[in-house]
Structure formats: C-alpha cells, structure tokens
C-alpha cells in the first residue's frame, strides 16, 4: 500500500505518536501511512453497517409491498438518476488518478487537475440532485397529505428516498470539502500532496460514497421499469 516512502515525505508528514517509534523516520512514516489507511478502512466498515441498515429496511418493505414500490419507482426521474450515476462514476476515476499521482509524487498539475475535476463533478451531482428535488416537490412526491400516489406504502418508498438521498448528499458534501482542502493545500505548497496519507484516505472515503450510490441507483430508479 505504502510503496517505499522517501525521506522527504517522512520529514514533511511524520506526526506523533508515530514519530516516537523505535525506527528510522522512513520506516516510522511507512507505519503512519499504513495506520491512516487502516483507520479509514475501519471507519468505512462502520459506514457500510450504517448504509446496510438502510438497505435492509428497504428490502424488507419492498418484499412486503412489491406493487407500491414498483409504482413509486416509476415516479422517480430516471434521466436525472442516470446522469448522476455517470457523473459520480467519472468522479471516482478522477479521484483514483489524483491518488495515484500523489502517491508517486509525479504529474503535479495532473494531480491538482484531477482533484479539481473530482470536486467539480461532486458539485455537479448536487446541482442535478437539486433540480430533481425541485421536480419531486412539484410532482407532490413528498410523503404527507398531498402525496401524489394512491398506495400508502409508496409513501414509505419516498420517505426512504428523501432520507437516503439527503444522507448520501451530506456524505458527498463532506467528500467535496475534503477534496477541496487537498486541492488548496496542494496549490499552495507543491510538495504537500506527495506521499501524503491524507490523499489515499480521502480517496477511499470518496469511493465509498460512490459505491453507496451504485447500490442506491437500482433501488430508487429501476423498480417497476423492467418489462
């Protein structure tokens, strides 16, 4: 994971308590990098359980109410949903390129460009989502007295839809903040991204947010549309 970090990266990024290890700075920094990556993987395991609980709820209700969920799925806007899926998958590509570039310490302009593109694609996702929300509100797809669909459990589908897309958008917003932070730091100081464990940590988080959407897309947009 860590490659062979040089003395430069070790001097710039080595921190407590890793700096106190009974090894040379290069080896200590390799441990620190591994520790950061390991830590974020543990956190992602926690996030997986967070979303898994939501997916479980969805599955239970969909099995209990197949017709209502099909009708509700047809009411979502598949054009916006598909567009957003394409945007988010592309952002994962640019994020991966930025992470690789930073780890090797090569192609500084490309790395910064990819970080900027990642943040921009994330913002584009939120903008598209905003248009979709406006349309959903106009079509009375907010659960409550004026709900558009006849079946009562369709309100549960849309309750889930609103909650899970907002939670996902909050995650994405945090991701955009983290990527922008790296971009600003990398812009100011050419060396700061080289071998910096924060890049890989941010990238792993970004990919998880992307991966959650890969599950959400078929759950929210495809029911009732086959055949």
């Amino acid at each position: 994971m860590s490659g062979a970090p040089g003395e430069a990266g070790a001097a710039a990024h080595l921190r407590e308590p890793w700096s106190e290890l009974e090894t040379g700075p290069a080896a200590a920094f390799a441990r620190q990098r591994d520790g950061a990556t390991f830590g974020i993987w543990i956190f992602l395991a926690s996030e997986v359980l967070f979303f898994a609980a939501l997916f479980l709820i969805y599955t239970a209700y969909r099995i209990a109410n197949p017709e209502a969920f099909a009708a509700a799925g047809r009411a979502t806007n598949i054009v916006y949903g598909t567009l957003n899926t394409a945007i988010l998958l592309t952002s994962s590509l640019t994020m991966a390129m930025a992470a690789q570039g930073a780890e090797k310490g090569l192609f500084r302009r490309l790395t910064l460009g990819c970080l900027a593109a990642t943040a921009a694609l994330g913002l584009a996702f939120l903008v598209v989502k905003g248009f979709e929300y406006r349309e959903d509100i106009e079509k009375h797809l907010v659960p409550g007295a004026h709900f558009a669909l006849r079946q009562a459990p369709a309100q549960i589908f849309f309750g889930f839809y609103w909650l899970v897309t907002v939670v996902h958008a909050i995650h994405l917003g945090i991701g955009i903040g983290l990527v922008t932070r790296l971009l600003v730091k990398g812009w100011r100081d050419p060396d700061v991204l080289t071998e910096n464990p924060q890049v890989e940590v941010t990238a792993l988080y970004w990919h998880l947010v992307d991966l959650v959407w890969v599950f959400l897309y078929p759950m929210l947009y495809l029911p009732g549309r086959a055949g």
Partner: protein, 565 residues
C-alpha cells in the same frame, strides 16, 4: 521533580524519581484551561471523560433516587405518572449512553491502552479529542432536552409511540444520542488502529494483557453496532421532524422492524458495557491473587466469542413482539450459547484464585463483588433466554433486576475497582484504604438490597414502568428503596475520599501493588511521553510466578504499599 516530599517516610517517592532532570508528569506538563480542553494527550482526555461521565452518573443517579422514592409506597406520592415516565427515561438515557457506554473504555481505556502496549499515544490523538467533544456535545443536547421538556418514551424510543404520539422532546434527545454515537465510533476506530499498529517491540497478540483484548473486542462492537443505532435514531428523527414515514403502521410501516434494528445495536451495547469490565477484573484478580491468569488463551477466545455471538442474540428482547416462533427459538438458542464463554470467564477467574495468595485490598473487594454479581446477573439471563419463562416475566421487575445486576452491579463495580486500582498511577496519590474497603463492601450490600427484592417482586408479577403498584408488592419495594439509599451513600463515598486524596493523599510509588503490567513501569503519574525510553516486551502478561509452575504455597504475599490512613 519539584514536588514537595511527603511528610511520612513511607510516602516517599521512588529513589530514582527524586533524580532531577526527569520530564514533568502529564499533570504538571501545562496548566490552564486551554492545556486541558485542547490537549491531544490520551491521559488528559481520559481525565476529561472521567469528569464528564461523573457528572452524568450523578445526574442519572438523581433521577433514579426520585424513582425509588416514589416507589416507596404503592400510591403516587411525589410525582405524577407523566413526570415518573420522564424520570425513568432520563435515568435510562443518561446512564446507558452518557455513563455506561463511555465509562471504562473512554476513561480507563484511554488512559491505559497506550501505556499497556508501550505506545506514546493512541494512533489518532486529534480524533481522540474530537471524540470527547462529540460525547459532551451529544450529552448536553440530550440532557437539555430531557430536563427542559422531558421525554416519556423510555430509553428505547419504541415506535410508533416515539414518532407519532409522544409529546416530549424526542427529536432533540435522539439527536443527542445520535451525536454521541459518533464519539463511540471514533473511539473504536482509534483503539483498533492503536492496538494493530502501535504495540511495543516484542508485544505479540498473545502477550497482550486481557484488558487490551477487552478494549479490542469492545472497539469492534463500537464500530460495527453503533452505526445501526445511528440510522435507527435518524429514522425516528426524520419521521418526527419531517414526516418521512418509515415505521408508521398507518402507511404500511413495521414497528417490529424498528425493534430489530434498535436491538441489533442495543444488545451488543450490553457487551460494550461488560467486556471492558471483564478486562479490568482480569487485571485485578491476577494482581491481588499473585497468580497468572488461569487459561489465558481461553480468556482471549471467550472475549472474542462473546463479541461475535453477542451480535446474534438481539431477538431475545422481542419474544413477545410478534416474531416468528422459529426465529424466537434460534435467538433463544444463541442466547444460551453466549452464556458459555461468559461462564468460562467466571470459572477461570475462580481458577486464578485457587492457590493464590489472595489479598483483600479495596480493588480486589470490588473485583470479588463483580464476580458474584455478574454470576447472578448472568444466570438470571438464562431464565430470560428461555422463552416460556421470558413470556411469564416479560416487562416485570425481574428483567429490571437482571440487567441491573449486569450493567450496574457488574460493570459499575468493575469501573470502581479499576478506578481504585489505577488511581495511584493516574493521580500519583494513594487514597485512604480503609474508607475504600468500607465503600466497596457497602456497595455490594447496598446493591443486593436494592435489586434482589426486584427479582422476587418481578417474579410475583410486578410490572415495570408504573409509578403505582398493588399494595402486596410494598415490602419488596421498601427493601429496594432502602437499598438504594445505602447504594447512594456507597457511590458518594468514593467521590469524597478520592477527591480528598488528590490534595492530601500520600504520594504513590511507581508500582504500589507490585503489579506486573507494563503500565506500572513508569512514574506515577506518567510523563507526557508515557515512558522513559522505549519499552520492549520480553514475556507474557501476569508474570506473578514462574511460567508453568504453581505458586509456592507458603510464599509470603508481597504486602501492598498503599497507605492505611
């Protein structure tokens, strides 16, 4: 060190501690509010946690006192039904999430984990501080809601009552608990990474003290169970505040689904409370029996097994909720299975005592009290795991007594035992041993007087959560309320004499109990960097007598060096 020399000669610090040029202790390393509130030192963060959970403990205790006062007579005397509901909810929410869950992991764990593995700090020191702020922030939100408006749902927030009918400040309380959940997750991530990445050279996995193993398994549960609670509470919040109907039965929602998700967290949460306690007890019993732990590897596997099986027993909270009878059978079976590793631990503690030179210093009194209370709580848990008995005593005081034996009797005893055991290391002072022994014994008797009558009242059919009850139950309630008064004194006493010892206690030696752990191989209190030089570990834990050899029967017990003021 510039510290004044203690008045009595036995209170002198170790000889080498008097050498000039040693770094200052972590307590002396920086003064002022900022040096505490912005610290990244795991030891200072542990103190921050200790202060806040003590406040929460006495707040939750005050609510329990009012509940017990009300139950002294069968009629309603001091509070109305609504106030009573708010009181037991306040007690439950504060005690579970703001005292018991963070109690041992975040105070003793934070302080001791890096010391026990020979590290300078936890893996992510800033995250550690963030975790405290999340805990305090969530706690203040929840307590503000519980005190200002009150919540009458009970600590379980069952839907649809919490989402549709309750008029209390449910949303804000739920938000507070949600926030503090992230504190648990941050602590879990931090501890797991610390144990994996920062062990001293020579400290292999099977040389780790059992307390570290307990922290490791607890952290796994923090990381894997808490997010499910977060989602569940978020759904309650969304349904109440924004009308998103996930659990609303009127629109096809399923309240039992809520219960599944809630207990998927809240049953492992019981193990989050008891596993750290088991870790503490293993350290205490070995030290005061001067004995290697009996069956070290079994103790490790038992901790892991409890953590794993504990994730699959949640359904036993729902035997009467309309679950399928096949599911109920499986959950019942798994609940019996989880008792096996718990029993292994009790037998191994007993085996450790056998032929040990047992001393009865105050931490050991707490530890022995733990074993008794945990056994009783665990065995009554088997009653409840068995479906017919559970249906009979569902929602009675039998259940209340059972989980208080585990969560209060066992966990809080272990917390106090650990607090006394490591108090010299944490503060550099000895507490008055006689007072401590008295408090430990009083706590044991007060606890049993409070909660044993509840087993009987519950078995006779007294339901929980009511402020009035039929007069035939009064004798059990008078016993219980009297016990609560004794227990309150026993809890207040350490607050008094431990605070006293901070100012007037004798200065502690580096290793007042002659314990074998790595955390004692530094000054009391330790310097900011924990050790003078880098520790290397050359053997397994609990080296109280040669490995593979029984302790010599007439071996004189090394006397404890604590003061006996």
């Amino acid at each position: 060190m510039s510290a004044p020399v203690a008045a009595s000669p036995t209170g002198l610090a170790d000889r080498d501690e008097l050498d000039l040029g040693l770094p200052p202790s972590y307590l002396a390393d920086g003064h002022g509010v900022g040096s505490w509130l912005l610290t990244t030192d795991h030891k200072r963060i542990a103190i921050l946690y200790a202060v806040t959970i003590t406040l929460f403990f006495f707040l939750g205790g005050a609510a329990a006192t009012l509940v017990r006062l009300e139950l002294f007579t069968p009629e309603a005397d001091i509070v109305r039904a609504d106030t009573y509901n708010k009181l037991f909810t306040l007690h439950g929410v504060v005690m579970v999430w703001f005292f018991l869950i963070p109690s041992i992991p975040n105070t003793l764990g934070n302080f001791l984990l890096p010391l026990m593995i020979g590290a300078r700090d936890v893996a992510f020191p800033k995250l550690n501080l963030v975790s405290w702020y999340l805990n305090v922030g969530g706690g203040l939100l929840a307590v503000a809601a519980l005190l200002a408006g009150g919540v009458d749902t009970g600590w379980t927030f069952y839907v649809p009552y919490s989402t549709v009918f309750s008029n209390g400040w449910v949303s804000l309380t739920v938000l507070g608990v949600f926030t503090t959940g992230f504190s648990s997750i941050a602590t879990g991530v931090n501890f797991i990474a610390t144990i994996h990445m920062l062990r001293a050279p020579g400290l292999s996995w099977f040389r780790l003290p059992l307390f570290v193993w307990a922290m490791y398994t607890t952290s796994l549960m923090f990381v894997l169970a808490t997010p499910v609670l977060a989602v569940t509470l978020l759904l309650v919040f969304a349904e109440r505040s924004f009308g998103l109907p996930i659990f609303d039965p009127a629109r096809g929602g399923d309240p039992v689904l809520f219960q599944h998700l809630f207990w998927f967290y809240s049953h492992p949460a019981v193990y989050i409370m008891i596993l750290p306690a088991m870790g503490v007890i293993s350290e205490l019993i070995t030290c005061f029996a001067r004995r290697r732990i009996f069956g070290y590897t079994f103790m490790v596997y038992a901790l892991v097994a409890i953590a794993v099986i504990g994730f699959f027993t949640w359904g036993h909270h729902m035997f009467t909720s309309g679950m399928s009878s096949y599911a109920a059978l499986v959950f019942s079976f798994l609940s019996f299975i989880v008792a096996v590793p718990s029993a292994i631990k009790v037998f191994n503690w007993t085996g450790t005592l056998y032929r040990g030179q047992v001393g009865f210093e105050s931490p050991m009194l707490y530890a022995l009290g733990f074993v008794g209370l945990f056994t009783l709580g665990g065995l009554t848990g088997l009653f409840l795991a068995s479906i017919p008995v559970d249906v009979h005593v569902q929602d009675t005081y039998f259940v209340v007594a059972h989980f208080h034996y585990i969560m209060v009797g066992a966990s809080v005893s272990a917390y106090f035992g650990g607090l006394h055991f490591w108090w010299p290391k944490i503060t550099g002072r000895m507490y008055p041993e006689t007072w401590a022994r008295f408090a430990a014994i009083l706590m044991f008797f007060g606890f049993n007087l409070t909660f044993f009558p509840q087993f009987i009242a519950g078995y006779l059919g007294m339901p929980r959560r009511y402020h009035v009850y039929p007069p035939e139950f009064q004798v059990w309630n008078v016993l219980s309320s009297s016990g609560a008064a004794v227990l309150a004194v026993a809890y207040l006493m350490p607050l008094g004499y431990l605070t006293w010892s901070l100012l007037f206690g004798e200065r502690a030696r580096n290793n007042p109990w002659d314990a074998s752990g790595l955390e004692w191989r530094t000054s009391s209190p330790p310097p900011r960097d924990n050790f003078f030089g880098a520790p290397r570990v050359q053997g397994g834990p609990y080296s109280y007598h040669p490995e593979g050899v029984a302790p010599i029967h007439d071996q004189p017990r090394i006397p404890a060096q604590g003061s006996l003021t």
